[in-house]
Symmetry: C2
């Protein structure tokens, strides 16, 4: 059900076509809640059926017959209600750490590959997230710009602060994963003995 609220959060910035949703999603909300197009399109339709968003056909422009989705008052209320509803903390389900815990079952070479991939992925993520964080601080993030067109100045600082709070958390997490992988790599060297000392 979170996808629904992830989409509402995005649409709260401004009305968009499904395609724009799908693209802007990738640049913001997807960092906390990934979803492929094949989930976004049907969910938008269901949200329209539920009255959380309104649909208006837009003619002209590239690809005739686009639909423009706009959050309704019901949608706004639903998002607010969800935000105010305490949710049970999600139980861990992490294939990466599952592997890490039982890495004695893997070939040493594969274990190294696994940890290198982990490190590199989160290094890249950290960079990417830091780049997003900068655009949030500078208020140059596209979705933020769109949102601020109808948010009065006094509230803007508050919005920026929460977005930055979350993205800083994501950056910290990514860096933690890098450190984790590096400790794992050091451990592999240790367990195998230092190179050249078979």
């Amino acid at each position: 059900m979170s996808l629904r609220y992830a989409l509402l959060a995005l649409l709260s910035a401004e009305p968009m076509t499904a395609y724009e949703v799908s693209k802007q999603f990738g640049a913001s909300v997807a960092h906390v809640w990934h979803a492929p197009d094949s989930q976004i399109y049907p969910e938008l339709r269901r949200m329209a059926e539920a009255g959380l968003v309104s649909v208006t056909r837009v003619e002209g422009g590239p690809g005739g017959g686009k639909k423009r989705y706009a959050m309704t008052d019901d949608g706004r209320a639903a998002l607010r209600a969800w935000m105010n509803t305490p949710a049970p903390l999600s139980r861990p389900r992490d294939p990466q750490y599952l592997r890490a815990a039982y890495l004695d079952w893997a070939d040493p070479g594969q274990a190294r590959e696994f940890l290198l991939a982990h490190r590199d992925y989160y290094r890249e993520q950290a960079q990417l997230l830091e780049a997003v964080l900068v655009t949030l601080h500078e208020r140059t993030h596209p979705t933020l710009i769109a949102r601020f067109r109808h948010v009065p100045e006094p509230e803007r600082a508050r919005v920026v602060a929460f977005r930055c709070f979350a993205f800083q958390g994501l950056v910290d997490r990514a860096k933690l994963e890098v450190a984790f992988a590096e400790r794992g790599l050091a451990l592999l060297d240790e367990v195998a003995g230092p190179p050249g000392r078979s």
Copy 2:
């Protein structure tokens, strides 16, 4: 599919009845891959059908007609193969951070509740995980004891090292979440203005 390998990893320690699996699961693997009984029992049956585990009926003892599951050579091979197969990194899907990013939509009171719950949950998790970590270091963890009955001494250090590596990672993560929640709480105070200075 990870559940299957989580269960194999657990059964690699020693043969167990489904009930023992379900209980020991909670004390070890569940920290990286949670699963309820209603998922464990059917999955064990499917694993037996696939020949990854063997089933023998055990009479006597409490509750006549228990089944004892033991990992087969095929199971061992499947676990090893899975461990050596690079898996794509899992995309983020985190309801907690989704909320955090859009906390401007929540009532300040609810936002505080949310962050307090987050902090307390991960504080407790950190404690719990640290307790598990100690039993791993000391080699008093039940599953580890069972496993070591058929693992020769020279390999034991390696096994302990990887388990500790993963659980230390989990502890670090939990602590990061506590720090995250605390930064959020500080932010709430800041945004609302310090108390007594309306």
